[in-house]
């Protein structure tokens, strides 16, 4: 099976996966299993946002909104079509993909900050519709929905979330290391240069946005059936802020960075729970300091240091 000896990177990855798989047997505390499950949810959102911002070079402010689209589509289809939550999650994923195709097709031809502004507008319109159309969505009270698994323990959810996260990271790894991944990075570096060598940048952008948004909606749908409640909070600005903080602190433009950042900040956030109001203040401070002084984030900076100490790449 191993045609070549396992690289240190591969070894560390394997170690991390084994550690995450065995954690529920080590930590017997349901509360921390719950925190980790939420952490995995954020890790998926941060990883997918990172593909847009860190590789394609497009900052989307509609990311949390796509999680909410998936969550609402799934919860509403479970409620009205009486389908099983698993099918609901599939419907949520498709809904995210369809919406992202239209939004991406319309707004991804805009450059840089114009794209960001249009995603902000789409996200806000979605939030206003959800809040105003009270009869369908129960407005800001939130829509109660069925749980994915009937169980007293969080452990089954832990493994579902972990599977979703591993699937996201692995598929992202495959895409980034394929010919299409090179196209993504080429467009991210310079759209003009990419066009000049014959890359259809519009297609690359729309397909990437579709992939990212479908996964985000799937994660959002899962989150809804995990908590049992879908509210406009899922797509709120705070959530977007959290996703950005996690990605930036962990290391934007690196594959493990967002996962590390999400788990770290989720733990941090639980420890800081008693400081409530200072939590987002600290996270905002972290975003500013990291972006200003450690642009490559925790993972990127550590990697750089290790390489410079080790002497060889």
């Amino acid at each position: 099976m191993f045609r070549q000896p396992l690289s240190p990177k591969g070894f560390l990855t394997l170690l991390a996966i084994v550690a995450l798989l065995s954690l529920p047997f080590i930590i017997r505390h349901e509360y921390w299993i719950y925190v980790l499950t939420i952490g995995f949810y954020y890790a998926i959102l941060a990883s997918t946002w990172n593909v847009m911002a860190g590789y394609l070079g497009r900052v989307s402010f509609a990311h949390a909104a796509f999680a909410a689209i998936g969550a609402y589509a799934s919860a509403l289809s479970v409620l009205h079509l009486k389908v099983h939550p698993v099918l609901g999650m599939a419907i949520g994923t498709v809904a995210g993909a369809v919406f992202s195709f239209f939004i991406g097709y319309l707004s991804l031809r805009l450059r840089g900050v114009y794209f960001t502004l249009s995603t902000l507008a789409f996200a806000e319109i979605f939030r206003i519709i959800v809040t105003v159309e009270y009869e369908y969505t129960r407005g800001s009270l939130g829509l109660e929905t069925e749980h994915l698994i009937v169980t007293m323990s969080y452990i089954p959810y832990y493994y579902v979330a972990l599977a979703l996260l591993l699937g996201t990271v692995f598929s992202t790894y495959l895409i980034l290391n394929s010919a299409f991944g090179l196209k993504i990075m080429a467009v991210g570096n310079s759209e003009e240069a990419a066009e000049a060598i014959g890359i259809d940048s519009a297609k690359v952008k729309v397909v990437t946005f579709l992939y990212v948004s479908a996964l985000t909606s799937l994660a959002g749908a899962f989150y809804g059936h995990f908590i049992g409640l879908v509210s406009p909070e899922v797509g709120a600005f705070d959530q977007l802020a959290l996703i950005i903080a996690m990605t930036v602190v962990g290391g934007m433009g690196t594959l493990p960075g967002p996962v590390i950042g999400a788990l770290l900040l989720e733990f941090f956030s639980e420890y800081l729970r008693e400081f409530g109001i200072f939590r987002l203040l600290i996270f905002a401070g972290l975003i500013i300091v990291t972006v200003r002084f450690f642009r490559r984030g925790l993972y990127g900076t550590l990697k750089e240091r290790l390489i410079s100490v080790g002497g060889s790449p």
Binding site: A53, S118, E124, V132, I288, V291
Partner: protein, 295 residues
């Protein structure tokens, strides 16, 4: 007459609201013109301006009209400090738009939560500039204090225009907006121009907050809606264009007021987003903007 009267009244309200949007939007468009970035913390500059006025008036007992220039001065210094500490690498290291979006977004988040933690999350009402009274124009009645505050906003706008059109630093700003490298070659200090631009824009946003928060309510997230509206305005008017920002403000104020009467009030805040999307899709360079090709 039954339908026309509310429409005329809302038209006037729209014009008054437009003058506040203009104060925010002109600052935003100046930043974009000179530095090629969108400041996502602009709404928080507005909010800070409101709080500084509130504390000057309630704690130190300073008159509103005296406090207003102090607010603008303080926010001018604050804006320059933000440029020097956070935005400088954009010029020195030639960083892309991801950096400017994320750092100003982080700053916005920081300031909102700073205000929640230290000023408190509850609503505050700064004392008005003059007591509330209404002016009757035949069958139409207008709020007099709103009209006064809108007039102050217009005076500040005219002064800003004079700074940009008639002073040396204004000339340097226009030159930098046209061609940064060219301006540098002519011996202009682009760092100083950027710093001044941030200071001026921040002072304008602060003035807008100091004026409008006496009419609307003041809270840590009070800047969010005015900021979003000013993004719409500068997209509508063409990013970087001052005349466009003023015209866009008036147009948006009117669209919103008429939409509220003629279509639905619940979706009031959604109209501006719809306008934003339509403008970006149909005419991304805005009504007054010039289509530029990037190389």
């Amino acid at each position: 007459m039954g339908v026309v009267l509310p429409i005329v009244e809302n038209l006037i309200t729209g014009l008054i609201m437009g003058s506040f949007y203009a104060l925010m939007a002109v600052g935003l468009t100046l930043i974009f013109g000179v530095m090629r970035i969108v400041n996502f913390a602009h709404g928080e500059f507005y909010m800070l301006g409101g709080y500084i006025l509130y504390y000057l008036v309630t704690l130190l007992g300073i008159n509103n009209f005296v406090a207003l220039p102090i607010v603008m001065g303080a926010m001018f210094v604050f804006g320059m400090a933000v440029e020097r500490s956070l935005l400088r690498p954009i010029i020195t290291e030639g960083l892309g738009h991801e950096y400017s979006i994320i750092i100003t977004f982080g700053l916005s988040l920081f300031l909102v939560n700073f205000a929640i933690a230290f000023f408190g999350p509850e609503y505050k009402t700064p004392p008005p500039y003059i007591p509330t009274y209404r002016i009757a124009l035949g069958p139409i009645s207008i709020s007099g204090d709103r009209l006064l505050v809108a007039t102050l906003a217009a005076v500040i706008l005219v002064l800003t225009y004079l700074v940009i059109a008639k002073t040396k630093i204004g000339l340097a700003m226009r030159a930098t907006a046209q061609n940064k490298e060219g301006a540098m070659l002519c011996g202009m200090d682009v760092y100083k121009v950027s710093m001044f631009t941030m200071g001026l824009a921040s002072a304008l946003a602060g003035a807008s907050g100091a004026l409008l928060s006496t009419i609307l309510l003041l809270e840590p997230q009070a800047g969010l809606i005015p900021a979003i509206k000013s993004y719409v305005v500068i997209a509508l008017g063409g990013m970087g264009s001052i005349a466009g920002a003023v015209a866009g403000s008036v147009i948006l104020g009117i669209i919103e007021s008429l939409g509220t009467v003629l279509i639905s009030a619940a979706y009031r805040d959604a109209y501006s987003f719809l306008v934003l999307i339509l403008v970006l899709l149909i005419r991304p360079e805005g009504l007054f903007g010039v289509r530029v090709r990037e190389v």
